[in-house]
């Protein structure tokens, strides 16, 4: 397995009595794009701020590029890019002024040409002040600022929130472009599962501050499935099967959403409850995510071992 660039160990954060991040254990290897998903209020932003050392954990620890997040020296910070939720930039600065300001933090690696090309590609006026830009334009500036220092590790907090399809696509292109360079890693949170599906190699699912899944996107897509069992006379009263997420019954049919159960286990269960036949139905990522994080399932924890 390749080098770990982001690692959290039992990372925990309370705001007063309320638990925002609960014993988060993550290891993200160099060279992948990792989609970070969870419902609103699941703790994604808090987790990201803890990883970057912008918040102090209540317990546990986090390391970026081998350094403790709460004491990242400038030499390490220079290798990390961060895009804040809502693209908060200094409103009174012009694009050119902001570039100059930002470049100072990345003295050896700022790519002037790359930044200029992106601003031109986005058709943005360099002299214009941030406060006079639209939300989409501000996001574009923020993307150019994040990519210009060619970061080794790029962390983006819901970067495409509220953006139109074209600008969202530019963010995805930016991520793919970055990952093509040797040894670059991206972690980004998003609610747009189609975007996550497009570019991510791995996904992290958290819910109520708890890690629910961390695996390759393909493993997740294979793991969550719906199976419809048909019975000759009546549906069994009790459904006792591992990995059960959701159960819906009709007179003759039982519709189960299962996670991490292979074909053989399904066949075996069907035999044990004397189902007449069954049908495995594929689900799309959005449906999988919704059923996986439905309130009834919040106590379940699924993690897959590295393949």
């Amino acid at each position: 397995m390749s080098e770990i660039v982001l690692e959290t160990k039992a990372l925990t954060k309370y705001y007063g009595d309320s638990l925002a991040v609960d014993h988060l254990d993550l290891k993200i290897p160099r060279g992948c794009i990792c989609g970070f998903v969870g419902r609103n209020g699941a703790g994604k932003t808090t987790a990201i701020k803890l990883m970057l050392g912008l918040l102090q954990p209540t317990a546990g620890s986090s390391r970026l590029l081998g350094c403790d997040s709460s004491r990242l020296p400038p030499a390490i910070r220079q290798r990390i890019g961060y895009v804040t939720e809502g693209h908060r930039l200094f409103r009174w600065m012009s694009i050119a002024g902001l570039e100059k300001f930002q470049r100072a933090f990345f003295p050896n690696q700022w790519d002037d040409k790359f930044f200029a090309d992106m601003i031109e590609y986005f058709d943005l006026p360099k002299k214009k002040k941030i406060k006079h830009l639209s939300n989409g334009q501000r996001a574009q500036v923020s993307l150019a600022l994040a990519l210009a220092p060619n970061p080794e590790l790029l962390i983006m907090d819901d970067p495409t929130l509220g953006l139109d399809a074209a600008i969202r696509r530019q963010f995805l292109e930016g991520m793919i472009g970055l990952i093509m360079r040797e040894g670059r890693t991206v972690l980004f949170s998003s609610h747009i599962l189609g975007d996550v599906e497009r570019v991510s190699e791995r996904i992290v699912v958290i819910d109520k501050g708890v890690l629910r899944a961390y695996c390759s996107l393909e493993q997740f897509q294979e793991a969550v499935r719906k199976v419809i069992f048909t019975f000759a006379d009546s549906v069994p009263n009790e459904v006792n099967i591992d990995g059960l997420l959701h159960c819906k019954r009709t007179e003759k049919q039982l519709e189960l959403t299962l996670v991490g159960i292979d074909d053989e286990q399904i066949a075996e269960w069907a035999r044990s409850v004397r189902a007449e036949n069954y049908d495995i139905v594929k689900m799309n990522l959005e449906d999988q995510f919704i059923e996986f994080t439905a309130p009834a399932n919040q106590k379940r924890l699924f993690k897959w071992e590295e393949r």
Partner: protein, 137 residues
């Protein structure tokens, strides 16, 4: 080579399956013929805006199926159909899929003749192109 591949996020087919199937179909239809070079993994990933690993996974599935071969250093090429072999398991799988389609057809109230005609007409769409491909040689 024209970029005919269309990615549909949110479908119940994972993206690597979409890429695999669309390239397989292009080969079956003769849009891609033996010896044609597939785009480099990174190039196709950039164009489709998908993860390069997804393209690599699709290419390796195509290779497992014997549809393409990868020559180290020079790229991935559509293989010679004469070198593709189908074993009993492949044919069995095909027969099962046909059974499913025939069942659906019959359940829709179609007769045997209707089904034969439909099969013929669909087949022509593929064979026109692959015949042309043979004539060119």
């Amino acid at each position: 080579m024209p970029l005919w591949i269309q990615i549909l996020p949110g479908s119940d087919e994972p993206i690597y399956v979409q890429v695999t199937e669309q390239i397989s179909e292009a080969i079956a239809r003769g849009q891609l013929t033996s010896g044609d070079k597939l785009p480099a993994v990174r190039k196709l990933a950039s164009e489709l805006v998908i993860n390069p690993n997804t393209v690599a996974r699709a290419y390796s599935r195509l290779e497992q199926a014997g549809l393409v071969t990868t020559k180290t250093g020079s790229g991935t090429f559509v293989s010679d159909p004469k070198l593709r072999r189908s074993d009993a398991a492949d044919i069995n799988m095909l027969a099962e899929r046909m059974d499913t389609l025939i069942t659906r057809g019959l359940n829709l109230g179609m007769g045997e003749q209707d089904l034969r005609r439909l099969f013929e007409s669909r087949l022509t769409k593929f064979s026109n192109k692959s015949n042309k491909r043979k004539e060119e040689k």
